[in-house]
């Protein structure tokens, strides 16, 4: 088991090139966390909670059930690609303003799902928002404020 073959891998994360040697079964999530992208969270490691969501080549992707080999050469974005303390991304600002954040553990994944949604559909209905985030579990908020925040961004309103 231990002398498995290692593969070279190269991809970009938040526009930075990241390289490594990995085992075939390494997940994208473990690879990202091993490379200090700790903002990508592990809630279940089974594809059930959405905490590990990143945007991979434009699509929201569960990094815990994605082999890092599948991500070879791809462009990955995590929540840290969005905004900065002085200039939050509109989704981040709305999550703060609408208190779509409690413990914040689901938040990095939730924000990436929301971003991918708005890129595909810039005026989603509340139902479409609920559908889009239904793979991202949040145990704290009850979801309403998350839907409010995403809807506000899609409508361009600021609280």
């Amino acid at each position: 088991m231990s002398n498995r073959e290692l593969y070279d891998i190269a991809l970009t994360v938040n526009d930075q090139e990241v390289k490594g040697r990995v085992k075939a079964e390494t997940t994208l999530l473990d690879f990202l966390r091993d490379n200090n992208f700790y903002e990508v969270k592990k809630g279940c490691d089974k594809g059930d909670c959405g905490a590990c969501t990143v945007i991979m080549d434009g699509k929201s992707t569960l990094s815990c059930i994605t082999s890092v080999l599948q991500a070879q050469g791809s462009k990955i974005y995590t929540v840290k690609s969005l905004g900065t303390w002085d200039k939050l991304h509109s989704l981040q600002q709305a999550f703060v303003d609408y208190e779509a954040v409690q413990c914040g553990f689901c938040t990095p994944g939730m924000l990436m799902t929301a971003k991918a949604l708005l890129e595909k559909n810039d005026h989603p209905s509340r139902e479409e928002i609920r559908e889009a985030i239904s793979g991202n579990l949040c145990r704290c908020t009850g979801y309403k404020k998350i839907v409010d925040a995403i809807e506000a961004v899609s409508k361009g309103v600021r609280k």
Binding site: K42, V96, R139, Y143, K144
Partner: protein, 759 residues
């Protein structure tokens, strides 16, 4: 204190929230130390067995494995704790606990050995190399069976580990006066907390020989338990709490901390241990399943005359907090109603199931399902509107409860119920196969710990030379914004902006101990402590300024870093000038304050007849549901939740607590059940154990009432737990309204509803 708040009660987007959306927060599992080892826990795959042989040699000799620990390596593996305030009937309760299984496994998933290795993979492989030979022992899984004298015993010679009673008036006489009586048996599920962040932490030995454990802790005071297990002074163990990714009571009892400390103590190296999602399932306590027998009587004009109830909780294989959870159930079992004659008998029973312990609501939730189902059924029998019936019986300020506690704050139940019901609007029409129903439920829930525990909370506040403030508070933040509340309170009192207050929190050797983030006590206790310390600092400033301005200190105010006279606003001083003068005179503008909850004597009789809680939060929730006659599935169409929070600190956060609590309560009501078969867990994963997603619930309409009558800072009441209890009975009452059947065993799954419809 001025009435017009500049911060309190507003919608605050806190600084912690900003760090959370930026992905900046270093959660427990995001922390690394150089040279860190990775730990795993080897767990039993038997519910009741003797370990005949435990072989760790192969695991130990796997390259990369640094150590494998078993019970023999734990200095004080077995602990016996006296549970304060236990009944004479059960005797002084000695809660036995073992860190690692020594000889006897009592539940499936119990920890047997610890492994630390150079990599997570190696630790995982080492687990596979540990071998155990078991001998099956008799087991019992049904708490009612476990109560019988000949049932296999889990510990000692009595499986009943706690029993409490309420005795008020004469129940028999009360039923004789009743025109209607309803009698039912209710059952509630074993709920998993299902916080999204797994239990996790990192430990290390520092250069002063102190074992540090940085982990997701609802109770940093566990450093004492760690010291006991290791047999070292408490001063040699430091717990550094993290911002917690949700807890709900799941991170209240000991989780990873003792294991981590043991491994670091043995190896001298930093160690990380993070539970897998599966392990969160079978390796940690759940909410107590209950069987609740209720008999309630009322006169034909709707006055409750008597309640008789028997409550049995399944404590699982270890005592943990079961006796206390049972106190909560017993006290809250009447519901928020004045009942002249009450007889309640409650027991908690050991079984070979996974242990039960703290979970949001803490025993107040299971009884709410029963007492609110009873109220609706009584109303139906009486032909009376369910709210009318409740109104005739709601507790009022000044009333004495069946546990002999005076209600000393406002009871806005009628307003809450009215508003929640009204928010639903007109009932939808439904269809031939989909029936619509409305239902609501009221609840009460204490906030603050049991007063015989003599709870205190400390906080230290200091003004820096530039007028900004630093606060040190031990209170952990489990995601509810506990740290932001302390910041807001300090900023309000000292007239500062939120950004001008820095809060250092949850470190057992750096921050004054503020107690646990449990029991809906955080705002009440640490908020009052922060307010007290800030007010004391304010006093130092105002007194100094009063000399400088020749004005009465009472007539001075602090705002925007200025101290000014409220009578002559032109009489003012920059705050920094006052601080400078304080410094020059050695009057340091700092304060360490301790807030004390009311103290009472431990309960020593079986019957609870003295106040147990500081106060209660009251509320109501209302639901519109659609029941599919063909599948039995319940669809929740509308939801409103109204709670009196006394005074909101951050209105957004209050709504968030209400909305999140309601949804967790909905999960409890219709979908969540941690299943075990003969003690073997069946629902380890989030694809087996289903919690509400965004598609399972509607927009929760939260209605915040503010009586300003609470015991917390500025009249606040707690809301963390109170928001969860009314949900399940509201759904069940709405199902009854929709299709005419009553569900007595939750969750109200499609299967249960379908079967009930067939009858």
């Amino acid at each position: 204190m001025k009435e017009n708040f500049s911060i309190i009660g507003k919608r605050l987007g806190g600084l912690d929230e900003k760090d959370k959306v930026l992905g900046n927060v270093v959660f427990a599992d995001d922390f690394v130390m150089p040279g860190m080892l990775y730990a795993r826990v080897f767990r039993a795959e038997k519910a009741s067995a003797k370990i005949k042989c435990l072989d760790i040699l192969r695991a130990q000799s796997l390259p990369g494995v640094i150590c494998v620990l078993t019970a023999d390596d734990v200095p004080h593996n077995e602990s016996v704790k006296n549970v304060v305030g236990q009944t004479t009937e059960v005797g002084l309760l000695e809660a036995k606990h073992q860190v690692l299984v020594k000889e006897r496994v009592r539940y499936w998933g119990e920890a047997i050995a610890l492994v630390a290795a150079e990599s997570p993979d190696t630790a995982c492989r080492a687990l596979e190399l540990i071998e155990v030979e078991y001998e099956d022992l008799p087991a019992v899984f049904d708490p009612l069976e476990a109560m019988k004298p000949d049932a296999p015993k889990i510990h000692g010679d009595n499986n009943i580990i706690a029993s409490w009673k309420l005795r008020k008036g004469d129940a028999e006489a009360g039923f004789a006066q009743a025109d209607v009586i309803v009698e039912n048996t209710y059952r509630t599920p074993r709920q998993e907390h299902a916080h999204i962040e797994p239990e996790s932490g990192v430990s290390w030995m520092d250069d002063m020989g102190v074992i540090n454990i940085r982990y997701a802790a609802q109770v940093i005071e566990h450093y004492r338990d760690i010291a006991t297990v290791l047999g070292i002074p408490e001063s040699r163990v430091r717990v550094i709490g993290t911002l917690i990714g949700g807890g709900f009571g799941g991170k209240e009892d000991v989780t990873v901390e003792v294991f981590l400390a043991l491994l670091t103590w043995k190896t001298g190296r930093p160690v990380k241990l993070t539970y897998t999602r599966e392990e969160m399932g079978y390796g940690r306590h759940k909410r107590h399943p209950y069987v609740l027998k209720y008999k309630t009587g009322a006169t034909k004009d709707g006055k409750l005359t008597a309640l008789e109830a028997e409550l049995v909780s399944d404590a699982g294989a270890y005592v943990y907090l079961s006796p206390w959870v049972l106190v909560y159930s017993t006290v809250h079992s009447t519901g928020p109603y004045f009942i002249p004659n009450v007889k309640v008998d409650a027991s908690s029973v050991l079984t070979n199931n996974i242990m039960s312990s703290a979970c949001r609501g803490f025993g107040g939730m299971q009884v709410a399902f029963a007492y609110e189902s009873q109220m609706d059924e009584l109303a139906e029998k009486l032909g009376m509107d369910p709210l009318e019936l409740r109104k005739k019986n709601f507790l009022k300020r000044g009333d004495i409860t069946a546990s002999y506690q005076e209600i000393t704050s406002e009871v806005l139940l009628e307003e809450a119920a009215r508003k929640a019901k009204a928010a639903l609007g007109e009932k939808g029409r439904g269809s031939k196969t989909k029936k619509i129903g409305h239902g609501f439920a009221c609840s009460w829930q204490s906030y603050g710990r049991m007063t015989y525990l003599h709870d205190t909370s400390s906080c230290w506040v200091n003004l820096e030379m530039d007028g900004s403030a630093v606060v040190r508070t031990g209170i952990p933040d489990l995601g509810g914004g506990q740290r932001e509340s302390v910041r807001a309170i300090t900023a309000e009192v000292l007239g500062l902006k939120l950004e001008e207050v820095h809060v250092i929190s949850t470190d057992s050797q750096v921050t004054p101990l503020s107690g646990t983030v449990t029991a809906t006590r955080a705002l009440y206790m640490s908020g009052n402590a922060a307010k007290l310390a800030s007010e004391n600092v304010r006093k130092i400033i105002v007194e100094e300024a009063s000399e400088m301005l020749s004005a009465e200190p009472e007539r001075l105010n602090l705002k925007d870093k200025t101290v000014y006279s409220v009578d002559e606003p032109s009489k003012l001083l920059p705050l920094v000038d006052v601080i400078k003068r304080c410094a020059a005179e050695g009057k340091v503008p700092q304060n360490l304050a301790t807030f004390k909850a009311p103290f009472t004597e431990p309960i020593t009789t079986d019957i609870i007849k003295d106040p147990v809680f500081p106060d209660f939060t009251f509320g109501a929730q209302a639901a519109e549901v659609e029941v599919d006659l063909e599948t039995g599935k319940v669809n929740i169409l509308k939801w409103a939740a109204a709670h009196d929070v006394g005074q909101a600190i951050n209105l957004n956060r209050v709504e968030g607590q209400i909305e999140g609590g309601a949804v967790q309560g909905i999960g409890f009501g219709i979908m969540e059940d941690y299943l075990e078969e003969e003690g073997v867990p069946l629902t380890w994963n989030l694809h087996d154990y289903i919690i509400p997603t965004s598609k399972d619930v509607p927009d929760i309409m939260s209605i915040v009432l503010q009586s300003k009558s609470g015991k917390g800072p500025f009249g606040a009441k707690g809301i963390g737990e109170p928001s969860i209890s009314a949900a399940a009975p509201a759904i069940v009452n709405a199902i009854k309204d929709a299709v005419g059947i009553r569900i007595y065993h939750i969750p109200a799954t499609p299967e249960r509803i379908f079967l009930a419809l067939q009858e």
